[in-house]
């Protein structure tokens, strides 16, 4: 080993370490270029990434941190604080099922059981075939005509177990 103890390692290139695909990397950089300089831009940046990719990949964290002059811990801290952001790729369709009181009053708890049993997953999970990801929501503002859910950000009201089956086509 002839390496001098004083020799400095070359700087780590984030893009080289990253497992992000070129397309993902381009999406992250595109969002950053557009939004990063707005005051308090971290939430809009993370929304931008999640809207583009469906999730905020773990390897996007150091890129966002560097571009916004934040520590990785700060970026990770924000991602983990907010229920909305996810760091795993979701299924083809994302269902946000309301768990709050107004929906409970019209059968929300029974619907929740039905959805979990039918899809065979719990909250924050994705079905084995990759079709559905199930997330809880605490109120969708549709409280006069619950139980409610968002499916791919489209609001559905008066969702009975039968209507859920029709919406998803899970049960023929």
């Amino acid at each position: 080993m002839s390496t001098s103890t004083f020799e400095r390692k070359p700087p780590i290139k984030l893009a080289e370490l990253s497992s992000l695909s070129p397309a993902e990397l381009a999406a992250v950089n595109g969002v950053l270029a557009k939004l990063k300089d707005a005051p308090g831009a971290l939430l809009p940046v993370l929304h931008g990434i999640q809207d583009a990719l469906g999730f905020v990949p773990k390897d996007a964290v150091p890129i966002v941190a560097k571009a916004m002059n934040l520590s990785r811990a700060e970026v990770h801290g924000v991602i983990s604080f907010y229920h909305w952001y996810r760091t795993e790729k979701p299924g083809e369709h994302v269902i946000h099922l309301c768990r709050a009181e107004a929906c409970q009053a019209v059968g929300g708890r029974a619907l929740e059981q039905h959805v979990k049993t039918t899809l065979g997953i719990d909250f924050h999970e994705t079905t084995a075939d990759g079709r559905y990801t199930l997330e809880p929501a605490y109120c969708l503002g549709n409280c006069a005509v619950g139980p409610s859910l968002l499916i791919d950000m489209e609001l559905k009201g008066r969702v009975t177990p039968a209507r859920f089956d029709r919406l998803t086509g899970v049960v023929a």
Binding site: G40, C139, V145
Partner: protein, 522 residues
């Protein structure tokens, strides 16, 4: 030559609740059927009247007024055309404005609900829009603040703090930059009035915030909208772009040389960000951790600058005050609760919807005269007023008038005016446990009573219901609630005990162990 008949104007709401019940499909079906029959129509996607049991509520403009049909499904559309638009039909509910549910309301803030196309600036202007701002542009900042103070308007988000006092503090605060922040993080279950304004009358909110900017000398505003409201985001952004394009926002509002810039920022699913200091942290791009007060946001708010932070309905009530005058607004209401409150009937209720009434109306009137009792037909057992941190109110208190002070005297709260109805099948111990579970899920974690108390609360309720030393557990639960009430930093931990204690006090029988539980325990 036959004269070409004027197109018939048909309204189908674009409100998300209406869409959740099929309004988009109905609109498509109407357009298709009209095209098939060669009938000339003018299809308007209006806001919702807030009569949600009738949604999708289709309205047809006639000489007698707007005739309503509801609830309409796509398969009903052909028969509407066969009967003749505006004529008798099984779904015809008559002239919508004449429905007692609507006619007996005092709609000041929701004056345009269901009437206009939310993103049409022309419609907004034609229906009294921007009259308040026009007046405000001719007034000194002090005079605008005085009008809001004089009107008696209090924070409609739940805390009911006098809006004028908050504004006066910001007006008097030193700062090169000041901000107007709208709290549109309407996380409380049973409430949807903010959503209805964002989706259904976005210019109203823009106008209210612009007036607030003029009043306190703030040139920049943010609407912090919850990400669960994608329809509201689209409507607000469309309206903001249109307001900029026509000089109602920007550097020179209607040639006045006054500036106000506005943008929408999306939350990210954290209930706690409805708490004002947590919301400000979130807007700054941080975790939504609650701040210590003081300093008040009015002195050191967003980015350390003096900030007015108000709820959607508070800001949306300002234009009417500046238009019709503080006296007119103050004339409504009782005691120190002035003006009107848009009550939202939710949960297990037959006629769920928006009821804007002057303060003083009783719960009973709201639940039965308007709500028509439960959807299930069973008796009402309890109602939760004011969202997940509001108490469960039993039948014995239904004669309570809607009034901040009268509610507070019984440890209840008016909050944001959401009323969630439960029928006799509700298990109140389960509801109490959910309050603790919700608090545990949504706690920001900064203070111990909320972060740990909520989890301990679930455990104690589980033991209590299981019959594991119930007398001790109840004492422990009350003691824990006391700690949370007195020792939490903000309203989440500080109020989560209200639903728990009210359930325990009014429905103790639900907390007694069930016979099969006792068998298991022994």
């Amino acid at each position: 030559m036959k004269p070409i008949p004027a197109p018939i104007t048909i309204y189908v709401p674009r409100d998300s609740a209406a869409i959740s019940l099929g309004a988009d499909d109905v609109a498509i079906a109407i357009a298709a059927e009209a095209a098939r029959l060669g009938v000339a129509i003018h299809l308007v996607r209006n806001s919702s009247r807030g009569l949600f049991w009738l949604e999708p509520l289709v309205e047809v403009a006639t000489e007698a007024g707007r005739i309503g049909y509801g609830p309409v499904q796509p398969e009903d559309v052909a028969s509407l055309f066969v009967a003749g638009l505006g004529n008798a039909h099984a779904l015809n509910i008559g002239v919508v404005d004449e429905l007692p549910y609507l006619k007996t309301q005092e709609r000041l803030t929701f004056a345009r609900a269901g009437i206009t196309d939310p993103v049409s600036l022309d419609d907004y202007l034609a229906h009294g829009g921007y009259r308040g701002l026009k007046n405000a542009l001719a007034m000194a900042p002090e005079a605008i603040v005085a009008a809001v103070t004089e009107s008696g308007l209090r924070g409609r988000g739940g805390a009911a703090f006098p809006a004028g006092i908050k504004w006066k503090t910001v007006l008097g605060a030193e700062g090169a930059q000041k901000y107007i922040v709208c709290n549109a993080d309407e996380g409380d279950s049973g409430t949807y009035a903010d959503r209805m304004v964002c989706e259904g009358d976005p210019f109203l909110l823009i106008e209210g915030m612009t007036i607030a900017g003029l009043a306190v000398g703030a040139t920049r505003g943010y609407i912090y909208l919850r990400c669960e409201y994608p329809y509201g985001q689209r409507a607000l952004e469309e309206a903001i772009a249109s307001a900029y394009a026509s000089g109602w926002l920007g550097a020179n509002i209607q040639g006045s040389a006054k500036r106000f810039d506005l943008e929408v920022r999306m939350g990210a699913g954290a209930y706690i960000c409805g708490e004002e200091t947590s919301l400000l942290e979130s807007l700054e791009g941080k975790r939504g951790m609650v701040r210590f007060k003081p300093p008040l946001p009015a002195i050191k708010g967003l980015f350390g600058c003096p900030t007015v932070i108000n709820n959607v309905i508070t800001l949306a009530s300002v234009p009417v005050i500046l238009d019709k005058g503080a006296e007119c607004y103050k004339h409504f209401g009782v005691g120190r609760s002035r003006g009107t409150l848009p009550v939202q009937l939710a949960g297990n209720v037959k006629f769920g919807g928006l009821v804007e009434k002057a303060f003083g109306v009783t719960l009973r009137d709201l639940l039965y005269t308007y709500g028509g009792g439960t959807l299930s037909g069973k008796p009402i057992r309890a109602v939760q007023v004011g969202g997940p941190l509001g108490s469960y109110i039993p039948e014995s208190q239904f004669d309570l008038p809607l009034d901040y002070e009268a509610f507070a005297r019984l440890n209840n709260m008016v909050g944001h005016g959401g009323i969630t109805v439960f029928d006799s099948s509700v298990d109140m111990a389960e509801q109490a446990r959910f309050s603790m579970e919700f608090c545990a899920t949504e706690s920001c974690g900064k203070c111990t009573p909320c972060r740990i108390g909520s989890t301990r609360g679930m455990e104690v309720i589980d033991k209590l219901v299981a019959g594991d030393q119930p007398v001790k557990q109840e004492a422990l639960l009350r003691d824990l609630c006391d700690t949370m009430l007195a020792g939490s930093l903000c309203a989440l931990g500080g109020m989560a005990p209200f639903p728990v204690l009210s359930a325990l006090n009014h429905f103790p029988e639900d907390f007694r162990p069930q016979p099969e539980m006792l068998e298991k325990a022994s």
